[in-house]
């Protein structure tokens, strides 16, 4: 089986690759920016380090939006979107002016309005409280993960699988069917992060129940 990491010029590709390879060295792990490879991927990872506007422009420039839409919305390819990647899943973001996202999940992205002593970016380790989704199986009720972001998602509760508190509670993990999004970096969250990645790999295997 294989895992394809989408290369759109704005992700920490190597870190994601290293974590996946460490967990599943027997799988074929690709980094790709080619439409046909994304269309035919068995599982997709959409990484993210950067700027919302930059990311959407890169996706457009590389003609990846159409193949991603087809892979995820029509072929129902399981996808895990990380950090900026998760933010792109939504309809729009206020970062860099009003920017349109991929629109796969209803909701929008807005700046974290932290009050002293909390600072923005929300940076460092913070507990994620799980709401029972099996992507977090084996981790109990809550575990710390690594965050580094200045914006967060606002979306219907039914899609929220995990929240964190930084001045106030906000969603940091979402799921709409086979589409997963995580605001934190599982590939940088040592044991808890690697565990979640392992769950995604196992649960998105062809034939695994969803």
């Amino acid at each position: 089986m294989s895992i394809t990491i989408v290369d759109y010029g704005s992700g920490n590709l190597k870190s994601v690759f290293n974590a996946l390879y460490h967990l599943a060295p027997h799988e074929n792990i690709f980094i790709s920016d080619k439409a046909n490879e994304i269309l035919n991927a068995e599982r997709l990872i959409l990484p993210g380090v950067g700027y919302f506007k930059d990311a959407m422009e890169n996706l457009k420039k590389k003609n990846l939006i159409q193949p991603l839409n087809e892979a995820v919305l029509e072929r129902k390819t399981p996808i895990l979107a990380i950090c900026l990647g998760m933010q792109l899943l939504f309809e729009k973001s206020s970062e860099g002016g009003d920017q349109k996202g991929l629109g796969w999940i209803e909701g929008h992205i807005e700046k974290i309005s932290a009050k002293a002593p909390h600072r923005v970016p929300h940076m460092g380790w913070n507990d994620v409280h799980f709401s029972g989704d099996k992507i977090f199986d084996g981790l109990g009720d809550a575990k710390p993960f690594y965050f580094v972001h200045s914006y967060h998602a606002c979306c219907p509760k039914k899609y929220v699988t995990g929240t964190s508190w930084h001045s106030y509670d906000f969603p940091v993990s979402v799921r709409k069917g086979h589409i997963h999004g995580m605001q934190f970096h599982p590939e940088k969250s040592h044991h808890s992060g690697l565990h979640v990645l392992k769950n995604f790999i196992e649960q998105s295997k062809r034939g695994a129940s969803s």
């Binding site: 290293n18 380090v49 950067g50 600072r119 970016p121 690594y146 940088k188 040592h190």
Partner: protein
């Protein structure tokens, strides 16, 4: 809690007042040891790169990042957008810029536009100057004066898009006397973004002072984490003991560390 690995070329070194450097060993081992022993992030700074004019060592970054499952910040010799892209592609999660930002402040903005401010750490080396009664920003391994006031420079860096400030004291570097708390206070009061303290830690209880007295959000140290076994674990045990909200992994044993009423290890 973020160990700082100081590298000269491909040798890990201990730094003393930015003047004397003692080689202490293998980089890959240092990183693997830190990742297993519950550190929150790792910063790796190549202090020769800017001075000697060479680029970041991509091959080194690639090999050490393979098993580094905590955030890795790479600094030293990054001066162009292409350097940033190459460093990220090699496995870094965040970048740290120092000399390049001072020589060309717009580079901070360009870096922010490329990767978002959260990926951009501006590292500042500061020295107390009696004559001008201020902390002055230094470059060239703490030897070259820039004429810049530290608090003003940090504030400017934030305005240009820095996501974090890594503040290092030239005076305290390697001294084991503890952080320069006045310097930390000056910097943390001048910005809204997170500040990482560095320079001078001799005992684990020095670490908490950066937070409780210096107003910082993260603590870093280089030398003390390089020779003592389990030093990162002792450090976290201390921080937790004095009431700081720090992540403790259930995989690591903290019970064997005892502290006196001042939080000093017994």
């Amino acid at each position: 809690m973020i160990p700082c690995i100081v590298v000269k070329g491909d040798m890990v070194v201990q730094s003393f007042f930015f003047k004397r450097y003692l080689p202490i060993g293998n980089l890959k081992t240092a990183i693997e040891f830190f990742v297993d022993w519950d550190v929150d992030e790792i910063i790796m700074l190549d202090i020769d790169a800017s001075k000697k004019g060479y680029k970041p060592r991509f091959d080194l970054i690639e090999s050490v990042s393979k098993k580094c499952f905590v955030p890795l910040t790479i600094g030293g010799g990054i001066s162009t957008i292409d350097d940033i892209r190459d460093v990220l592609n090699a496995g870094a999660d965040k970048i740290s810029i120092n000399t390049a930002a001072i020589q060309n402040p717009e580079f901070i903005e360009q870096a922010r536009n490329k990767m978002g401010s959260q990926g951009v750490t501006v590292s500042v080396d500061a020295k107390w100057q009696k004559e001008t009664n201020q902390y002055e920003v230094m470059i060239g391994s703490g030897k070259i004066k820039t004429g810049l006031n530290t608090a003003e420079w940090c504030h400017k860096a934030e305005k240009l898009g820095a996501g974090e400030i890594f503040i290092n004291s030239v005076d305290r570097d390697g001294s084991r006397k503890g952080y320069d708390i006045d310097l930390l206070k000056t910097v943390s009061n001048s910005v809204q973004i997170p500040v990482i303290a560095c320079g001078g830690v001799g005992r684990v209880n020095h670490l908490s002072e950066a937070i409780t007295q210096g107003g910082c959000q993260a603590v870093s140290a280089a030398n003390i984490f390089q020779h003592t076994e389990h030093s990162t674990i002792a450090a976290k045990a201390h921080l937790k003991y004095v009431g700081i909200d720090i992540r403790i992994s259930t995989q690591v044993k903290y019970e064997s560390f005892q502290f006196d009423h001042l939080g000093r290890p017994l």
